[in-house]
Subunit: 316 residues, 2 copies
């Protein structure tokens, strides 16, 4: 099969044998995949990943021990746990110390014609979710994870830092809980998507005098946390969503004196994301800026790295 | 009156007029005061404080509009709020944006013969708490704040980083909630106080293979947070207690990937601290390494700065 392969920070299109599913796995033909900021970080050396990248996808099951799955259109939870540790037994395999993560950690990903995933990881899609929408289920689930971690009350004010792909999803998701959601971003065009959802928007650099009960850091860069600290109320909560290579200088004393809660937030519930998309509660299709064939995946990565680009899709 | 005065990072003993209490304040004769790590940070420039330092004290009310208070032995909550903002109205005056803090922020402190504090800040002491014990009420309250912020279950494992004054109090307080408390410190003598309370202790540098549900960072230095991150379980909680001048380099992606909760923690409930001390549930007197007259306060500071020193008291 054709696949995009990352090795020593270089991407190349190569031909590989079609993967063989393990007994608990399904073989999935990839219908469409999406590029995420983490993919861009991987090619900058994050996690030193080598293999086929890609973890946002929709596909069709070609082969599986469970015959009910064969032929079904699916998305898939990207974490594979050992099944035995306290995290796996507690239903949080995304924290299994020996986990594999699709296209991120010791497991080939979705930027290929086929992938394999445990059957338990797969979620069958209802027909009313399109392939393009389905690619957003993984990042939408990650956005919904915030609602699993903290209670947001209708009176809480929320500021989302970052108008990237994840920031736009998060702002829309939090808007389902409180009317008081604002977003700070760099791009008028991206913020426009939120304005249509009646979310207040500010261009970066605008002075914001208000302080917020909840601040979500989704800038994807190291400055985000300190910006978040400067606009969070005392006793406020900061949700950290950005993963990137390197360290950030933080004024830890401010966290202590203001008794801030900082909460790291990663993968989330696929079933909730499928529900939210089925109900058309968030806008995703307007976020698509390009759809490239797999052959042109390197070009797709180059396009995705431009600051003004939102979601880039790849169709094998 | 005689007072210790901090100006341009220099301490000196000077004579000042006895302070005049405002209408809502009491005049308190200081019986005994304690030095805390924050005091040592102040003389290194933290918060650029100028004035009389000192915020841990026990005193006797000399003058107050409420005559019931006069003659009483008291300790005092160190935060003075505006009384009007959302924090003051919500009972969290320690987060009032225009607050004063005794001996720390725009309010002369306890290293003098007299101080003033709002009558509402004062707590009358039961006779079974000695003057020496009473000086520990403020830091003990700060330790108990952790129990206000998170729920600790009997099965939770806790690691306290730091065997300083605050670390020793915190380890003892958390031991009231779970048997699984350990402490990492630099000094055998200090850790000995915890061993007597059946708290597991490790000398810094010992390799700790276990990971912990809850880690309390009380090292007082910038390395503490990264040490805490290296021993916290995924989905674990890190309580931050150290305040110091400067910034710390943090691997923010680790916080995100492991979905760590980082919680800043500062002042706490005096009434609970008085209760805990009345019941002799924590050992404090063994932590006293010196008691200096006010005239020798500079010497007391020099002694307190030695790494091996625990609590230093000053008696005006």
């Amino acid at each position: 099969m054709k696949a995009l392969y990352l090795e020593k920070a270089q991407l190349k299109i190569i031909t590989l044998p079609q993967p063989s599913p393990l007994r608990n796995e399904a073989l999935v033909k990839v219908l469409k995949a999406g590029l995420c900021n983490t993919d861009l970080e991987l090619i900058r050396g994050y996690l030193e990943f080598e293999g086929i990248p890609g973890h946002e996808f929709v596909g069709q099951v070609v082969e599986a021990a469970n015959s009910n799955l064969v032929g079904k259109r699916v998305v898939g939870d990207i974490n594979l746990g050992c099944g035995k540790c306290e995290y796996c037994l507690g239903g949080r395999k995304e924290h299994c110390p020996s986990r594999q993560v699709l296209g991120i950690l010791n497991k080939d990903g979705a930027l290929a014609e086929y992938l394999t995933l445990p059957m338990d990881n797969l979620h069958v899609l209802p027909p009313r979710i399109s392939d393009v929408e389905a690619v957003f289920i993984e990042p939408l689930a990650a956005s919904l994870e915030i609602l699993e971690q903290i209670r947001i009350r209708r009176q809480d004010s929320v500021l989302v830092l970052g108008d990237g792909k994840l920031g736009l999803l998060i702002a829309q998701v939090l808007k389902l809980k409180t009317p008081k959601v604002s977003c700070v971003g760099k791009h008028r065009r991206k913020l426009e998507i939120l304005k249509e959802k009646e979310i207040e928007t500010h261009l970066l650099g605008t002075r914001i005098r208000e302080k917020f009960d909840i601040v979500v850091e989704a800038t994807g860069n190291e400055k985000g946390l300190n910006e978040a600290l400067s606009v969070a109320k005392a006793k406020g909560t900061i949700i950290l969503k950005s993963t990137f290579q390197g360290e950030t200088k933080v004024d830890v004393s401010k966290v202590v004196v203001d008794e801030i809660h900082l909460i790291g937030s990663r993968c989330g519930p696929f079933s909730r994301a499928i529900e939210v998309l089925s109900r058309k509660q968030v806008e995703v299709e307007k976020m698509v800026d390009g759809d490239f064939p797999l052959d042109r995946a390197k070009e797709a990565f180059a396009f995705a790295q431009k600051p003004e680009t939102l979601k880039v899709l790849i169709t094998p």
